[in-house]
């Protein structure tokens, strides 16, 4: 097969008049329907034949790495295989074409999906309830901090405005805190990469609102003293927030609720096998302990039994005999976070994933994710520094610091060289506390053979760094384009095509 041409003309450059596809009957002239002043003068868009559209987007797809084409060990993003049954279920016409304003009793099956998933998440993570409303993880963080703000206001504790964020936290944590008017206090981790409860105790107090953590943290390390951490914050009157980005590490083993967290979110597109789609759509349910349920974003799905009695939310339950309703009338709610109720198609996918695995399967998912990550670590430590070289969870962090000193080759260069070997790069330069950081998360769905291939490629790259570092500075060379001039992109922003002026 010949090498793909690096450049594909823009869809705006290929169209020609007369190539319109006949998807719809010809419409009447707009001028006959609406006042001319209300209409636009021209619609400067191309008409492309369907074949040209198919070739265009097929070629674009061929210039894109996905999990389906390549191992994708992007740390903190949980790039696991996305089972196709999930998409098939989301595409059932009765669910896909259901309008959000459909009356409850004509939408019972869809509400059952939401309710069952909510029950499964509550059981898995030890929360009293979830709202499926937020559209993504960062969106759920925002919801959780709004819940905290409303909670403290209701208690008359409006001086609680400080959010404590460990220096290993995801960048969305401080950005979300700023969006609710909270100030951020960054907490250094100790020599072992963990939060030290004694250090935390020195900074908590009457202004502490929330401490945001993930466990395992972004170094991939479990915080063994997490219950002491949550005690410190609770004794100071604050709330503990669990960032669920790393939830793939602990299912069936330990639960944020049991660790003492009051609030949490999940990235269903990570742990629950929803396709990442090139950067979304995601889904970010927000979960809370019992004392915060009233503040959840609306709507909430309520269930009642055959006699009309409300079914108390406790544990997993099948939905067949129950009747459901969307509840918008919740006096203490922070309100809705987005236009409609949830990223429903993703709730279908996540529930299909729960059905496929059950409790034992999900437990096994996390165990194997941890095993794969440790297997990579013990092999890669022979060629690159592992700053925290101990049993990690679903991901771990390597550092190219000493390799850089020796050869000039940086984490970035290793990532680019991996592309030439057919592997997506790990997350680089995050977390910020490890210099020349490579954050590697293989997930449970990769085979030993794939991991061994990655280890071999990594070894080869490090050997090449010592032999011929320039080759790595030039990588990648087998991809449709080489390294992109990012400075030019930022200095002279070209963010769209413009029609040529005739």
């Amino acid at each position: 097969m010949p090498q793909l041409t690096p450049e594909t003309p823009l869809i705006f450059e290929t169209g020609q008049d007369g190539r319109a596809n006949r998807y719809l009957p010809a419409g009447p002239a707009l001028e006959e329907l609406l006042p001319r002043a209300a209409l636009r003068e021209e619609l400067p868009l191309p008409d492309n034949s369907e074949l040209d559209v198919v070739r265009h987007f097929t070629r674009l797809s061929q210039k894109t790495f996905g999990i389906d084409t390549n191992f994708y060990p992007l740390g903190s993003c949980t790039m696991k295989y996305n089972p196709r049954i999930n998409d098939a279920m989301a595409n059932l016409p009765a669910l896909r074409d259901l309008h959000p304003f459909t009356p409850d009793h004509a939408a019972q099956g869809a509400l059952a999906v939401m309710w069952e998933l909510e029950r499964a998440l509550a059981a898995l993570f030890g929360m009293a309830a979830f709202s499926l409303n937020p559209a993504a993880g960062a969106h759920a963080e925002l919801a959780a901090l709004l819940i905290a703000k409303a909670y403290f206001r209701a208690r008359g504790e409006t001086e609680r405005t400080v959010v404590i964020v460990p220096d290993t936290a995801h960048g969305t944590n401080p950005a979300s805190a700023a969006m609710v008017g909270f100030t951020v206090l960054s907490l250094p981790s100790d020599a072992s990469g963990r939060v030290d409860p004694a250090e935390l105790k020195k900074v908590v107090g009457p202004t502490t609102a929330v401490c945001m953590m993930t466990n395992p943290n972004t170094l991939g390390l479990f915080e063994p003293r997490i219950h002491e951490v949550t005690d410190v914050v609770h004794e100071a009157g604050g709330l503990m927030y669990y960032d669920g980005a790393n939830a793939n590490a602990l299912m069936g083993n330990t639960r944020p609720g049991d660790m003492g967290f009051d609030l949490m979110h999940l990235n269903l597109h990570k742990t629950f096998s929803i396709p990442h789609g090139g950067g979304g759509a995601g889904a970010g349910p927000v979960g809370v302990a019992a004392h915060l349920v009233d503040y959840l974003p609306t709507p909430i799905v309520r269930a009642s039994d055959a006699d009309g009695r409300e079914v108390a939310a406790s544990g997993w339950q099948e939905s067949a005999e129950l009747t459901f309703a969307l509840d918008f009338e919740r006096p203490q709610t922070i309100g809705p976070m987005r236009s409609f109720w949830s990223n429903f198609a993703h709730m279908v996918r996540a529930l299909a994933y729960c059905y496929a695995n059950g409790a034992e399967g999900l437990t096994r998912v996390s165990q194997l994710a941890v095993l794969n990550a440790n297997y990579l670590r013990v092999h890669l430590r022979e060629v690159i520094d592992i700053p925290y070289d101990e049993i990690n969870r679903h991901e771990f962090v390597a550092s190219a610091q000493s390799l850089k000193r020796e050869t000039g080759v940086r984490a970035l260069d290793i990532g680019k060289a991996l592309l030439d070997h057919g592997y997506h790069a790990p997350t680089v330069y995050f977390p910020l506390i490890v210099p020349e950081c490579l954050m590697i998360e293989p997930t449970e769905t990769e085979s030993k053979e794939t991991l061994d291939g990655f280890i071999a490629a990594f070894r080869e790259i490090v050997a090449q760094a010592k032999r011929d570092p320039q080759a790595l500075f030039d990588a990648p060379v087998t991809t449709p384009v080489g390294r992109v001039d990012e400075t030019r992109a930022a200095r002279q922003p070209d963010l769209r095509w413009r029609p040529s002026t005739r």
């Binding site: 209300a38 004509a106 898995l124 901090l145 602990l250 809705p336 109720w341 059950g358 095993l371 963010l495």
Partner: protein
Amino acid sequence: MLGAVGVGSLDELVRVPDAVALREPLVLTPALSELEIAERFRRHADRTTAPGYTSFLGAGAYRHYVPPVVGALAMRGEFLTSYTPYQAEVSQGYLQAIYEWQTYIALLTALDVANASVYDGATALAEGAIMAVNATGRKAILVSAAIHPNYRAVLRTYAEGLELDVDELPYGADGRTDWTGLDDALASGKYAAVAVQSPNFFGAIDAFPAGVGAKISAAKSVPIAVVAEALSLAALAAPGSWGAEICVGEAQSFGNAVAFGGPHVGFIAATTAHLRRIPGRLVGKSVDAEGRTAYVLTLQAREQHIRRERATSNICTNQAHCALCATIYLAAMGKTGLRDCAALNVARTQELRAKTSALPGFAARFEGATFNEFVLRVPGRADEVLSALEARGILGGLDLGRFYPDLEDCILMTATELTTSADVDRLVTTLSEIPVRAAAHA
């Protein structure tokens, strides 16, 4: 593999301190085979009766014809299973598709730039408001009461966090924004932005009247346009042409299913002056070392992973795949298909409006041109009329009393290219048969 790691068992590998270990076994659904999963979802689907109904629901989520080519291309695994294109060299295809999406939105709105998407129309409005707050340093937003009620509700949720005031301009007797109070509002100097939706929640074309956009800009406030039905952009005067500096909206209509509310896809377009305050991802065109055209995520200094608490927004994941579906849809439909589609929507809605409002006791609540929905006043309570229709297999539209107490005898009705004359006739016949008169006297 356990041996290589140096542990004896998986349980040993994942052991946690007793204080946080699971106390009792997890109880969930039993694990099912694919066949059983499909059966389980078929049961859920069978409990969802609405798809068999004739529907006139819209109100921010629209059923449109989607050519099969959209799904066939968008569901390619390379697109579906990739993530945010941080590694540009192996993401050129997706990056170019996003650049094309940004171009489509800029061309449709007649504004300079557009971002790579946000969650949906409501959050786009909230993020647009934040852009205006950051641009002006002011802490209040003025919105038309004819903006989608859910969008205004979400704006209020965000406003609680940011401690912003949200005030409203009423709608007038014609179902359009009443601008009478605008001059006083602008003179107060407190508003960061003035937002209007067109077509508005009642379907009415509600662009800034001549001079209003410029007046808002002159008062150092930001004129924001909201578009909840993106298909209207193919037909109606573009927001950039009537004075909007920022246009936010919902593009679900472009090739994305209604899907009981999501995922849908929001957009933000703006004039160049607002470029560095736009939230979320932006794709730029550049070159590689050999001078070949290359696309890349750019202007990331605005974003959360660089600026943390000083970022313009906390957005990380957006709606890339929905935006991709929209881009393929726009490419396949082309200007001809989009204009035909828009015209069919207007024509079918005019037919629906003419036939329903001719029934005795029924009337269009507002005069004037609408796009693909309108407000029907019924003799009695809207919720009772809708229940009667539903019992006869028709979802007649949205009860406006749910959001506007003064409109409890009004239904928001929508027709698209999927609505047939037979659907309209069936609705009209059914409306003429149901006992609404009793409700009117109740």
